[in-house]
Amino acid sequence: MSDEVLVDRLQFTLTITYHYLFPILTMGLALFIAYFKTVSYAGRDGHRFRLLRKTEAERATAEGAARFWTKIFAVNFAFGVVTGIPMEFQFGTNWAQFSNYAGGVIGQTLAMEGVFAFFLESVFLGILLVGVGRVSARLHWLAAVAVFAGSWLSGWFIIATNAWMQHPVGHSTDADGNVKLDSFGDLLTNPWLPWQYLHNMGGAAITGAFVLAAMGAFYLLTDRHHQFARLCLRVGVIAGFALCVLQIFPSGDRQAKNVFDHQPATFAAMEGLFETSEGAPLVIIGNPNTEDRELESTIEMPNFLSFLTSRNWTERVTGLNDVPEDQWPDSVPLVYYAYHIMVGLGTILLAIAGLGVYLLWRRRLFTSRPMLWTLMLAFPFTYIANIAGWTTAETGRQPWVVYGLLRTEDGASPADSVPAGTGIFTILGFAGLYLFMSLLFVVLILRIVNKGPDEGAPEPEPAGATPEPAGAA
């Protein structure tokens, strides 16, 4: 692989990984903010759905929680927006030949993201943030729901784009050798799309749940904001547990099946399987050695891999030895480790959330210091699991940028336009800028955390009441 392609890949890796840290929480928190707003809004007396009614105290805590998390959300969203703009542009700047090749197809979903998701999200976030005191309670609630819908819709269009790159459908090749769209319906009903979407959004929601629980744990450990902390812990562990279960089955299971069916080399690399076998073992521990083509120091469960993929103990699973080496992912160990980190962390997080639910049921969660410490420190691992999952998907797809159609090295911008040195310069620029932004982010979030929620936050006032002297953006 030539230098400039490597540089383009590194820059994309840096910018997408850094960017995605923010949408994980945006999408995760949007769900819970919409939930808290709904409790606060629909829980009022006299609401036609009796079941939704809550006591005044519960509603006030939920409203306070919604406001507090909206503050964190706003900072996080701003970082997500500004780091997201480079993603769209980089398709053109660094991956011009890929854009030229695939723009006729994936341009559809990317443009739809802008038209259907970004406008919705940005306009209603404006209302959500400055709205308190300026708009009615109903509109404020609606804005929270619209922001949630916008951010999850945005995820859907991005996953639709990625799903096509993983498993191209509904296209044919035109006279210039580029792809053109043949069926819009096929593009949107790509069999890869639903499971990848659910698995991805589940990952984001798990982060949201664990961040909620961590904040609750932090406040209880520092003996502050008890009402708020308990609400966050309760919602965090229950949602976290339910989501972790769903993440393994059905979404993770079905996503793995998609990889098994459509990307056999990727599947073999994820599992570190070199020998094709009928009745393949599931590897729990082991190091893939691509020189000798074997896994070293393994602990495995015989026949389990075959069973998990197809519910058949002796299903044939293709190993890397039966795939031409020029179609292997270019770093088999990276795919293998990223996948195992994701699965391993997912299992540990499930156990933590499960224990949290158990203690909640036994009424010991709020007083168990070891559990509170564990929950407070667990949330960064949800980010690692999300990033490891994407690393598996993206490095697993190599050497292709569009699976089976366009090799990554043929997708970069021409070396004349973007030479390696130019790319290194801009990587350094992004790295420096992002380092500075990270420090800023941590400082701003810690300030919000330190200030805590406003206890007993008032209802949003109806329109026309005292406008706040703005300041929120």
Binding site: V75, I85, P86, A96, S99, Y101, V130, S417, V418, G471
Partner: protein, 336 residues
């Protein structure tokens, strides 16, 4: 169908420049027009709820360009690599400064954010103009549809001239916005700056005709050959005259609309002058990217018309709703 998408792009870019233009322009003037902490607070909170939605028009236009004319997206963005990355960095700085300004009470922090916001807005207004200048002038495309322009070749004399024009136009637009929206002393100051900038706008408007003819004769010929397209430059000239009149008569809402009309007139003039080219090569070079040779396949373009129309109806609804919400009940004409 390709031509329809050319028109759609022209409209979307125009909407982008008119909307984000006022917050970019207000940003470029920020340090001059808003002198005290309170005034700066007022400017940033007037822009706060809307700038992000305005900027989405840039992203959406980019997405539509990618979908409808992938060759142009690929060629232009890789060829103008440094210029584009510079835009990204400026957008990052500007977005963060605006969003994070109110997070800390510290006056030093706010001043720092004001400076970053103002300088990056100024830089963006300039760079967008430079980019337009380079497109009008044409780029050294090869037969595969790619080119390379290092940073200092992007900053050529014609590009810079259009860049300065862009900055002046957006600054005027921002000043008329603040003259309409702001309160007290700043309102008068913005109106005064707007009136002065009008002369610079006029000077550059007339002054650009000659150089444009020099770098791209076709541009003016193209307009001459299709006389109906002359409505666009006439719109620009008429709006500029109206701006002058409204500014002097203190009709500030109308002055803002006139400024928007001038921007729309200029951009549509450019689009009409370039058509059918999207990314022209330098004069005499046959590799121009046009609506015919750069468009995606027609099936995709037809499907996209359907969802685009639905999407735009929704977007129009949100925008009208949000702008009425944020800018209503504050009738500045009746306010002291």
């Amino acid at each position: 169908m390709e031509t329809v998408w050319f028109l759609i792009l022209a409209v979307m870019v125009t909407v982008y420049v008119v909307l984000d233009g006022f917050d970019l322009g207000a940003g470029a003037l920020h340090l001059i027009v808003a002198r005290t902490q309170e005034e700066r607070e007022e400017v940033t909170s007037a822009i706060g709820p809307v700038w992000n939605g305005n900027e989405v028009w840039l992203l959406a236009s980019g997405g539509v360009l990618f979908m409808a004319f992938p060759k142009v997206y690929a060629g232009a963005f890789s060829g103008l690599y440094f210029g584009l990355i510079l835009v990204l960095w400026l957008l990052i700085g500007r977005g963060l400064a605006l969003e994070l300004r109110h997070q800390l009470e510290n006056p030093l922090w706010r001043t720092a954010c004001d400076a970053v916001f103002s300088l990056s807005s100024l830089g963006l207004a300039l760079v967008f103009g430079v980019a337009i200048g380079n497109v009008v002038r044409g780029v050294p495309l090869n037969d595969a549809g790619y080119f390379s322009l290092p940073l200092f070749n992007i900053l050529n004399w014609y590009g810079l001239l259009v860049g300065v024009f862009g900055l002046v136009v957006l600054a005027t637009h921002g000043a008329t916005f603040l003259a309409y929206k702001a309160r007290g002393e700043m309102r008068e100051r913005a109106a005064r700056i707007g009136r002065r900038l009008w002369w610079a706008e006029l000077l550059l408007f007339l002054g650009l005709i000659g150089p444009t003819y020099a770098v791209r004769e076709d541009m003016l010929n193209n307009l001459g050959e299709h006389p109906w397209t002359l409505v666009f430059p006439l719109l620009a000239a008429g709006a500029l005259a109206a701006l002058f009149a409204y500014q002097r008569r203190g009709l500030r809402g109308r002055a803002f609309l006139a400024s928007a009309g001038f921007i729309a007139g200029m951009l549509t003039t450019m689009a009409a002058g370039l058509y059918p080219n999207l990314l022209p090569a330098r004069e005499g070079n046959p590799n121009s990217l046009t609506v015919d040779n750069a468009a995606a396949d027609s099936y995709g373009l037809e499907v996209a018309i359907v969802w685009w129309s639905i999407g735009m109806l929704l977007v129009a609804a949100y925008f009208i709703y949000a702008y009425r919400l944020f800018f209503r009940a504050e009738d500045p004409e009746s306010r002291a």
